[in-house]
């Protein structure tokens, strides 16, 4: 897999400290968190209006996804046959590099100079924008959040709110520079005007791009269609105006029927933004038909593996149910302390902590499976009931099994196991350790720097335990 070179996931701890000390980022995150949580609460509550039950719905959604994964080869084959019959072309890519090769090749053959892109996380996996730019083709991100992030030369920090880490002042600076106008002082009252400004600029890109690229929220096997869900309408633009439309999506995104799509659509927007439905849900099938006056002349699906097939039949197959709603990160205390960039690769939050090690190699993301407080908020909101904390736990176990944890940690655990088997020694040592910790705290009850594990206290204090060991306290209790 040609991913390791771009993944920054190994630097999670270093980045975490840096993110916690960044006041601008912290302000942006603290503002967003209650909004995300509150919107989902309202969205889920609205199900009760129609006597729908979240648990019942998510069991149905989980079953749809499980049923598809259980015969994924069959559904892919049916999808391919039906998409081809409707006039689309279906290509396959083993990894990100192959995605880039295929797209650049199509673009070259059709003399494409500019590509208008709707949000596609897979194109981030593939580093497609870099590949296009190297080939002299200009990629323009058109989702407003992605556009902001692209102007900043960054990557998205959230899968549905890519620019959640940016403040209005930062956006204003980017717009003034890119749009060639003087910098102004902006308040939240100016946000509509800023959105209008971006609309006017991006409209010209939609009209002039020869190729549109989108992801797909789902592929429908029954009809050979891509289902695309957006609020801004950029998904409709890039699949309607340019003469070529390329859909880049993971092989796991299939659902069998339109009915299955309807069930999932009761959960996806509610989980993501709290909406009962997103503004635009488009089903795209084939190309411009006979007599049609608009629409692309050529539609190409690129079905991408990039590590997905390996999860089938593994302990991690459940992760392939993910519908990319973002609820797990919106409810994650770790995500909201650090923001998405700390995770170092395409997917942040709990789903990223599972996917990044699986897609880029366990040895390239050693800290991510530990980026958890074990609170299971992610697991309880996930609309397809992925047991995220369990999967992270399994990854931690695998790190140990494969000897991937640092030698100091492995040695410490081995030593602990040896000592714990010798009660007298354990009691003697525990007394010494407790006295040492209290000495470090110097009577304050808090330890700011832990001598043997300084990294652990870099972003937090360790509250000191009782000045006596558990055994001492227990013995004292027994003798009233």
């Amino acid at each position: 897999m040609a991913l390791g070179k771009h993944s920054q996931a190994m630097h999670f701890q270093a980045r975490a400290g840096e993110k916690i000390r960044n006041p601008v980022l912290q302000a942006a995150l603290q503002k967003a968190r209650p909004l995300f949580v509150g919107k989902r609460v309202k969205g889920i509550a609205s199900l009760a209006e129609d006597a729908l039950d979240f648990e019942q719905l998510r069991t149905a959604a989980k079953n749809i996804r499980n049923r598809t994964l259980a015969d994924l080869d069959v559904w892919l084959d049916i999808f391919e046959a039906r998409a081809t019959a409707s006039g689309a072309e279906v290509l396959w890519a083993r990894d990100g590099a192959e995605v880039s090769r295929l797209v650049v090749d199509i673009a070259r053959r059709h003399g494409v100079t500019k590509v208008a892109k709707s949000k596609s996380m897979l194109s981030e996996e593939a580093h497609l924008n870099e590949a296009l730019a190297e080939a002299g083709i200009r990629p323009v991100e058109t989702d407003l959040g992605e556009y902001i992030v692209q102007l900043a030369g960054e990557t998205p920090s959230h899968i549905i709110a890519p620019a959640v880490h940016k403040t209005i002042a930062e956006v204003e600076a980017l717009f003034a520079k890119e749009h060639g106008r003087p910098l102004e002082t902006r308040t939240s009252a100016d946000i509509p005007a800023m959105a209008r400004e971006a609309r006017a600029v991006l409209r010209q890109h939609f009209l002039s791009a020869e190729m549109g690229i989108s992801g797909a929220n789902f592929l429908i096997a029954e009809t050979g269609s891509a289902a695309l869900v957006t609020n801004e309408g950029n998904g409709r633009m890039v699949t309607t105006l340019p003469k070529i439309h390329v859909v880049i999506t993971g092989i796991e995104k299939i659902v069998p029927t339109l009915e299955d799509l309807a069930t999932l659509m009761r959960l996806l927007p509610r989980s993501a933004t709290g909406q009962s439905i997103s503004n635009y849900v488009s089903l795209l099938t084939g190309t411009k038909r006979k007599g049609d006056q608009d629409g692309p002349e050529k539609t190409v699906f690129i079905l991408v593996d990039n590590g997905r097939a390996n999860l089938l039949g593994s302990d991690y197959q459940d992760m392939l149910r993910c519908i990319r709603c973002g609820a797990c990160m919106n409810h994650c205390p770790v995500y909201f302390s650090l923001g998405g960039h700390a995770y170092g690769w395409v997917y942040p939050g709990p789903m990223g902590s599972v996917l990044t090690p699986l897609y880029t190699g366990l040895e390239n993301a050693l800290d991510l499976p530990h980026a958890s407080t074990g609170c299971n908020q992610c697991g309880s909101v996930c609309p397809v009931a992925i047991p995220l904390p369990d999967l992270m736990h399994r990854l931690r176990e695998e790190q140990h099994e494969r000897g991937l944890r640092p030698w100091s940690e492995r040695l410490a655990l081995k030593a602990w196991a040896w000592i714990a088997g010798k009660p007298a020694l354990y009691r003697w040592l525990a007394r010494r350790v407790v006295r040492y910790l209290n000495w470090l705290a110097d009577g304050s009850g808090r330890i700011r720097i832990l001598g043997l594990a300084p990294a652990w206290t870099a972003g937090r204090d360790l509250p000191v335990s009782s000045s006596r060991t558990f055994h001492e306290l227990y013995s004292a209790r027994k003798k009233p």
């Binding site: 039950d53 609020n231 801004e232």
Partner: protein
């Protein structure tokens, strides 16, 4: 080995099943009798439900008793909103008496300069207040997309309960899918600058619905 064969091989190995042909035949058979998930239970008055949900989604709504009254209702809306009487329309509604309502309406795909687009709807969904539009020679998708104002004409008899019902209608009346099925739920919006919702991102800033037919 081709990428396709390699990927499908890996998939097959992962799921650990042989008998591809048998499983494929079973899957195709299952597609012929699609099963619905948990269904919402809604009050019987679908038109009232649709209207309430559509308004909640920031659509504006007017109602007229018959299709022949639609041009006057459109003209009234445009005048009240301070918008010009020029519009582009899908061909399937172009034959209405627009000129006698004082409007200049052209039947063609929309271009960037068009300010108002008038379209028909295939049907609409009461559960969420959503319109369902199909692309086709008489209903280019750009009309509901490029202009800042989208006006949709909707026969109330075409309001169904759920997205599943809309798909059932599509299968019954058309058999197959057009190039684009667009479900539209209000004006386009973005929350990408500091999570503040703004109407009018890339698609229309205003969506006005004209409900046509006897209201219960």
């Amino acid at each position: 080995m081709s990428a396709r064969d390699e990927i499908l091989g890996r998939v097959r190995q992962g799921i650990g099943k042989a008998d591809f042909a048998v499983r494929r035949a079973a899957a195709v058979a299952a597609l012929n009798s699609p099963m619905r998930g948990p269904q919402p239970s809604m009050k019987a008055d679908l038109v009232a439900r649709f209207r309430a949900k559509a308004e909640y989604l920031s659509n504006t709504v007017a109602a007229v008793p018959g299709l022949d009254k639609a041009p006057a209702a459109v003209a009234a809306y445009l005048a009240a909103s301070g918008l010009s009487g020029e519009a582009v329309a899908t061909a399937d509604v172009a034959s209405l008496a627009w000129a006698s309502a004082g409007l200049q309406v052209e039947a063609r795909p929309a271009v960037d300069a068009d300010k108002t687009g008038i379209s028909s709807c295939f049907c609409a969904i009461a559960e969420t207040g959503t319109l369902m539009l199909l692309s086709g020679p008489d209903s280019p998708a750009t009309v509901s997309l490029l202009p800042e104002t989208h006006i949709a004409l909707l026969e109330v008899s075409r309001i169904v309960a759920t997205m599943e019902d809309a798909f059932a209608l599509l299968r019954a009346e058309r058999g197959s899918l057009p190039r684009a099925v667009n479900f539209i739920s209000g004006p386009s919006r973005t929350g990408d600058i500091e999570q503040t919702i703004v109407l009018g991102a890339h698609g229309p800033c205003r969506v006005h619905l004209i409900l046509i037919g006897e209201l219960s």
